[in-house]
Amino acid sequence: MSEHASSFIAKSTIKAADLDHRRKINFNIGKYNSVVPVGKQQFSDVNTARERAKNVKWRAIETLDQQLEEFEANLTKRGGKVIWAENTQQALDEIYQICVAKNCKTIVKSKSMVTEEIKLNEFLHEKNIESVETDLGEYIQQLDGETPYHIVTPAMHKSKEDVAKLFAEKLGTDPKLTPEELTLVARAKLREKYVQAEIGVTGANFIISDIGGIAITENEGNGRLSCGWPKTHIVIVGIEKVIPSMADLGLFWPLLATFGTGQKVTSYNTIVSGPRQEGETDGPEEMYVILLDNGRTNLLANPKTRESLYCIRCGACLNACPVYKNIGGHSYETTYSGPIGSVITPHLKEMNEWKHLSYASSLCGNCTEVCAVKINLHELLLENRYESVEEGDASWGERVAWKMWKQASLHRSMMNMGNKKMKNWMVNKVFKGWTTERADLDFSSKTFNELWKQNKAI
């Protein structure tokens, strides 16, 4: 078992039994569950909307090379600079070079999972550059020294009391502050940082090929401040975020909002298609877009797993997943948690190290049922399991067990062998996985097969 697998089992064991955790998550996901149906009402046929979105993403991913080059050509025309990064190190090196050139001491950052993926904050910290999270949830997580718990709602596991306590500890505020008051505290702190920061870093929800722009979806306005206020704007985005046309946003903005938070559209949606142009009064002087691969082309190269690149990171599969709800986002120890994380992580990283996530699913299929772009998530978990076995990652014991199972299943007579006592002993005493927390299984003294043949004989 890999180190990550052991750690996953240890952490998930603790969280699954943590009733306080379960209560908070059920409360917050309960709120999500109550608003999503309201958001869905804006679609006359939500199923068709999802199918169309899948189709658009299919087209974008099948022509990814052309889409990205078109994006680059169009953005470059307006003075933006596109940087292609194959991996984390290349992305960090490029960012650092820009920081040095701009003599950067402070960065304001809007919410971005890709920057989590490359551990940008840690890197900048080592280089003595202050990186401030400006999304409220991310700000809370940064104060607490924690990674995001959820790709859309980073502090989902914290109650309002937890947040008030955290602010009191870290910022010296009154521990009885209400959520509104806490938000004002964060706002005041963050406004100062916008003024100081030399560089603003954002992610992007969409890369738009035909206009050479990126789109940011948010609810707090911190994203547009991060890209609009500092003199330099750096966007870091995974290459799969492409949509072919700005016109596609008419579908994707409402879809992302509804499946992400139950809204019709989020409060702020911004399209950025270059730095400040001549005659414009505001906006950054320079804009860089770093297109990050970091293993995504592994998913692209494999026709079976390719559809996982259609993901728009709405988080619906996390909220729908009973495993996620029981073990929480941190047990995964991955940037992307929940079903989509379990599908893509073994390909973005090492299959052998992360295959356990594909097995950590009851295959209930609820992720597939709720996916905004209809990715067959639970079938992709099965595909990962198959690929890990094909790569030879299964243990010797397991390989032998399935060979034996095959022999028994090919020969009916073998399935009628053995008696009740022996079978019960095997299942209940030898393989203890079932009986540690459950009552013993009780085999029938005769199989249905034997009983049927007997009855017929009578």
Binding site: A17, V323, I327, L382, K406, G433, R438, A439, S444, N449
Partner: protein
């Protein structure tokens, strides 16, 4: 009407009585029931574990064992869903394409066979108890079964059917998941049991003994009074 029985491997080994109860109901409704005693397993356990080559050999045997034109009925939505939805992928672009398609069209889970094919919603059963119905994930999402079992249960005399909260949430069985990730699996079962107990039902009824084996195993271990029972066992009661 001729009906072939498909008795899943674990039902064969652990719950033959449920299979006989299904036979009893089918015969009452005028079906000519037959059973190919060479049958073993649909191949799902190995497939789900990632051992597709091993699974495929067993699936090939299943295809042969269930050739013909009869309807096939199984007391399990899980196995039914697997054969219907995954055989097409395993045997994609192969010479048995049409056999697989044909097999999927002839195979039914017990409750959907009664309601959709036989058009029967009242089998004349009596079962005096308060019960709640558990939607198995395979029933709900692989086979799209939601109303069929409820329709059948509503017509059982003496049975008071109540719905539990989060009825569409997985119970946590998931095959090898139940053993490999036992703490998560058990936590999920506990929530299912809590929701069922809150209805004050005496029984949890389902189309799938795999769920019930897990829920019941956990419930008995914790000393809960609530019992689990398969739909076929309820429908075969009182006559």
């Amino acid at each position: 009407m001729n009906v072939q029985l498909f008795i899943p491997c674990f039902v064969d080994q652990l719950y033959p009585q449920t299979a006989f109860n299904m036979v009893k109901v089918l015969r009452k409704l005028g079906c000519e029931v037959s059973y190919n005693d060479n049958q073993t397993c649909c191949g799902q356990p190995a497939f789900n574990a990632g051992f597709q080559h091993e699974a495929k050999e067993v699936c090939s045997k299943f295809l042969k064992d269930f050739s013909g034109t009869d309807y096939i009925v199984a007391p399990s939505a899980s196995c039914t869903g697997f054969v219907r939805n995954y055989y097409t992928k395993l045997f994609d672009n192969s010479s048995v394409h049409n056999d697989v398609k044909n097999l999927g069209n002839r195979l039914y889970e017990f409750s959907e066979f009664l309601v959709k094919v036989l058009g029967v919603e009242d089998v004349g059963a009596t079962f005096s108890a308060k019960a709640t119905y558990h939607d198995s994930c395979a029933g709900l999402r692989e086979c799209k079964i939601k109303q069929e079992p409820r329709k059948l249960l509503k017509n059982v005399k003496g049975l008071e059917l109540v719905e539990m909260n989060d009825v569409e949430t997985c119970c946590g069985f998931g095959g090898t998941f139940a053993v490999k990730f036992e703490p998560i699996s058990v936590a999920m079962a506990d929530q299912k049991i809590t929701n069922a107990v809150a209805t004050e039902a005496e029984y949890i009824i389902s189309t799938d003994l795999s769920c019930l084996m897990h829920i019941g195993g956990r419930s008995n271990f914790k000393g809960n009074k609530i019992k689990t029972i398969h739909l076929a066992d309820v429908l075969a009661s009182g006559w």
